[in-house]
Point group: D2
Chain length 385, copies 4
């Protein structure tokens, strides 16, 4: 990778964040309805802060920060770079306004572009690449957080009338057979990957058979109508507590209106499309559904090995693997080392990518992870026998 390509990429990625926010009203940028959803304003500022903190401050000669306060306001979880606003308080910070945040983006972009003309320090270039992938991760969250904010408004506002981010259908049927044996998993090659994908290593897999198609709404409704949410035998113990304490009886965004299932989509409230691929289920729901089908979820290694033989990319797919370090995982030193390693506990791995994932940000070795009850991402289910 050279700085020239990087400049094009930089501009493309940065533009895409702004594009995602185009349909928003100023008010939509502000709230944080639950701790795991961040205000759109914060995403725009935080991804900018990354470049200011890790690139412009150390490498931009004589660079003056846009505002001293922003280091404090838009840090997310990097304990190594000073104090930060409590994650649960982001929705109460009305200033800087979104106008100022866009000015911040412009200021940093201009300095980045200038810097990219001359920069050839490989470590810096690598950090910029990381910053772009970091911003792409936030683009995915930006879209799902916007959906959460609008989808929990009693008026169900439309984000974009022609958005069909949920309507995908399966293009394949049948299943893939994988034979028993030793396989290799983990990233290899020259391109970019996150530290948690590194350390390609051997695993031993038993023979298995994995569906080419993801579970559809119609199949899930069958489970619901068969009393799936009422039969504790199907559920993990913590899952059973979770659905009961939170009165969960359907995927997120689903509403039964006059006897018919509807869901909130970015195009507004709509009748459920039965043939569309199911989305917005938690690991608990995915595991209960698999149990009801007398099947199971794949492990992440199984998924990675089989993934070349089916289409993926519409839903983040729950695996039955806990998110843990690969055998040779090494934590980078300093703030960048906080990127992934410290989250490797009490979450499950998702593989693939989703309709919310920006182009060029997915690969078969990518390891996403969420807590077992989280479901505001475009999560789905693929089954294994």
């Amino acid at each position: 990778m050279n700085a020239d390509n990087l400049k094009d990429q930089y501009l493309a990625v940065r533009r895409h964040s702004v594009k995602i926010c185009e349909p928003l009203e100023t008010e939509d940028y502000v709230p944080q309805p639950v701790p795991f959803v961040s205000p759109p304003k914060w995403h725009l500022a935080h991804s900018t802060w990354f470049f200011e903190t890790f690139i412009l401050n150390p490498f931009g000669k004589g660079y003056q920060v846009f505002s001293e306060d922003f280091s404090f306001l838009f840090n997310s979880y990097y304990n190594n770079v000073g104090e930060r606003v409590l994650r649960t308080d982001r929705g109460n910070i009305t200033r800087p306004t979104i106008v100022t945040v866009y000015a911040y983006r412009k200021y940093v972009d201009e300095h980045m572009i200038t810097l990219l003309d001359t920069l050839n320090d490989p470590a810096a270039l690598k950090l910029i690449e990381l910053g772009l992938h970091h911003e792409q991760q936030h683009q995915e969250l930006l879209l799902t957080d916007i959906k959460y904010i609008l989808g929990h408004n009693p008026l169900f506002p439309v984000y974009s009338p022609d958005s069909n981010l949920v309507k995908d259908v399966n293009k394949e049927t049948g299943s893939v057979q994988i034979a028993e044996g030793i396989y290799e998993v983990g990233f290899q090659g020259d391109g970019f990957c996150f530290d948690n994908e590194l350390g390609r290593h051997k695993v031993y897999l038993n023979a298995f058979e994995i569906s080419k198609a993801l579970v559809t709404n119609a199949e899930y409704i069958e489970f619901m109508e068969a009393g799936g949410y009422q039969d504790f035998n199907l559920w993990l113990d913590e899952g059973w507590s979770w659905i009961n304490e939170n009165k969960i009886t359907a995927p997120m965004y689903w509403h039964k209106i006059n006897g018919a299932w509807h869901y909130y989509t970015l195009a507004g409230l709509q009748r459920i499309a039965p043939e569309a691929i199911l989305s917005h289920v938690s690991f608990f729901e995915a595991a209960a559904f698999a149990q009801w089908k007398d099947m199971r979820l794949p492990t992440e290694s199984e998924w990675e090995i089989a993934s070349e033989q089916f289409h993926w990319g519409k839903r983040w797919e729950w695996t039955h693997s806990a998110y843990l370090p690969y055998p040779d995982f090494v934590k980078a030193s300093g703030a960048v080392g906080e990127y992934n390693g410290k989250f490797m506990i009490n979450t499950m791995v998702l593989r693939g990518s989703s309709v919310a994932t920006p182009e060029g940000h997915s690969r078969k070795t990518y390891r996403n992870f969420f807590h077992t009850h989280e479901r505001w991402q475009y999560t789905g289910i693929r089954l294994v026998k």
Copy 2:
């Protein structure tokens, strides 16, 4: 009161709400940082909703509501008029935007003005008067809620550079002596009052002596420096728990910076003015301070009787009276009956009014009330021997 005067009053009151919000950015209208603080947008809409629901719907012939959804969104606590958005969720409702809310205000105002041209139903006129006083109450909250939102932003944004809403000083010294005997308290006369002031009645007061001056910052700092927040003998048991659980060591908005006390004011962060009247203390703090002075807070009857002999109107003054119904209190029927009666428990009465109170909205019989730990209003302390 006739409809003509009422029209002028209506326009003046409605204009004042808008004026309070002039310095705000769009983002400032959105958040609800704690359940007792409402988004400015909500105040503007809710006070409008009152006129639509209680005046235009029943009395405006052929009136079409601005939006069916708004009845649901901007109801506050009136159980009699249908479901409502949970009080704690108001900060997540980004739509309708503030632009739409101002359109809603305009729409309702136009219909109200037209209606006032012909309206002469005394019950309706009385309800409009109530609606105006209701909006004035919300103006006070609007300003204190804005202060809370801006004052909890780490950037301490300025609301208005020439705002001196906290800097008042006492104009009098010395005290007022009141003799033992029977006195009458409660509203009398032709003007407006809330239902909780009605039922003028006799009370028996012992002799007492009440300060003409309110407690100042300097006096309160003396209490703090004498270890007032560390001496449990001065505190009510629940107050002692409150300061310890919440690590309270100073009034709200106070910050010790480089050894000097500062406070957030609507004009920004400033050095404490020692001679200014203390504000933003809870009942717990007021009672502990009085205990430390070996004095006490007045009862609400004492305050009402003595109030003609001192200046008041800068701080809401904590009394040592619980907020309970007067002997002849009668709850109105229907939704308007929910106005005051149902809150008469577990709060303490405040008397007077504050720098945030709109003109014409104060009188000596006015009974305000807050929980014993609340202090985001301009609350102050007056002592009795």
Copy 3:
């Protein structure tokens, strides 16, 4: 009062605490199911600790404490006498065993009896008298806490088969009329009273009419069957939240079994006796019931003035007065000053006494107080017009 009489009283009171516990199994002495209920073992030890700490330590020459640890373990809320076990942790302290606690009582009693032979310091005698009334207060709590512990056991164990602590019926009907005028309330005379009753003072009362009979179970069932728990117009706002959050639909200890109302009594689970006096309602329920009847609860002054003209003593009767200091209330200095003053907030006054009150521990000026949701005492309702 002289020391001789006091010795007899001392022995009688101390014996009565033990008698209350006679039906208990060792296990019953241990738990603290909710923070406001203390383990019986703790009551027995704490009331003993009072005599050791406030009498034997200062006045018993050469007195050796039974155990250094007990000062720490059995202090209740006296911040002035050192650290104490968190109120919520009492149920986890299995040692000292109840056998040791009885040994502690014996040890302290022997030293007290010896001391009383010679003691004539009036301050000391007064403190002993306070200690005995303190123990009587704990006897009342002991019985109601035992009821709570046994009454929340799914087996509904019997405390005493011939216990009829709930079955009292009204002996009178009709009402008492009190004329408007100045009255005096507060303790007077030579006997014992708590500091919160002192400061006899004048109050002005309007004319009122108060029922001679307390509300019965039958009357309350009528309220329940009329939908009383479902009609928010009857409830204080905090009361409405309380019944909904806690799914309250009947008084404490009531269970609907096969369509018939039962309640747990100290004699076990029984069919509701319709003619018996209602018990175990919160202030919220008392106030809602009064509202439904279009009547109200008396103030504590009204109750005190009228009380000579009706029978009382079976139920603690909720008044509509907040628990606040009398005009001339003076807090004693030191630990004894923590007895009452610091609790004078956010509670309501109860007057009278109950079937659980030990003999000789009631008088018309006695001021009890509980939070508005508490109802594990034998609380009842008397109405005023």
Copy 4:
């Protein structure tokens, strides 16, 4: 296995539970200080309930249950066999008394012994074997729960003066080398194992080196003194929150007294023995310590393969493996199927056994599991390079 051997085993296992409780006072049987600790009384009754419910009821001809209520009271988490007392409420159930619980044990034992004389149904015999292993699991919990109850009493009561359950020292030094390759893990053979150990399967392991010795108190103190609890770089993100929210600065039961570290042991409060093996650390602490040492915890497969080459059995050893089903895991149908499968989420695997494990209850394929913050078991640390 035949019924004769089983009778001896039955008697031995049942006797051991009683023996563990011999040093207890009646009061010690009652409390449940935290949800994960059960009252000793409950353990004794629940393990008995297992035999009554799963053996005597279905196989004991004409068997009359000891008490209908006990099915409800002493069920733990088996949703398939009816309602149950909320897990968090067990400490408030004072009746049945411990005397009755021992009578219950005797009654069930007598019927079991009689039944074992004639029983030859292999399914029944297998269930009895399961019941005995179930009771042994509870024996381990019984001891650690007793330690929790006594160890959180401010008096630090002694369970047994000659108990040295914490003082073990390492018998070996150095490390074991394991070569890269395919290995088999999971139970094989004729003996008993739990369902979660079944499905022997191949795994691919990279080469690794594992310590023969467990981490000692001295080594852990070194970590503490080097600021281990203050350096967020060493901690998983949830671990960092956990130590900060709970103010954790040392292993459970450790107290710094006059500058010297002590710990509560079943023999009372003692000075820390530096050479003794560390115990009572959470997974979070184990992982942070490993990070500080620049080493890591073993996976459960690594542990199982290497375990034949070192001594184990004193501490439950944290692995870095999440507790998940083995590839061929099959959930049994009915209540027994609830035994393990439904807990396979959000916990980490521990391998080995501890000083609290009853004889004959450990094997190298045994999979124990706890949440990442739990540490009231005798947990320890073994490191891998």
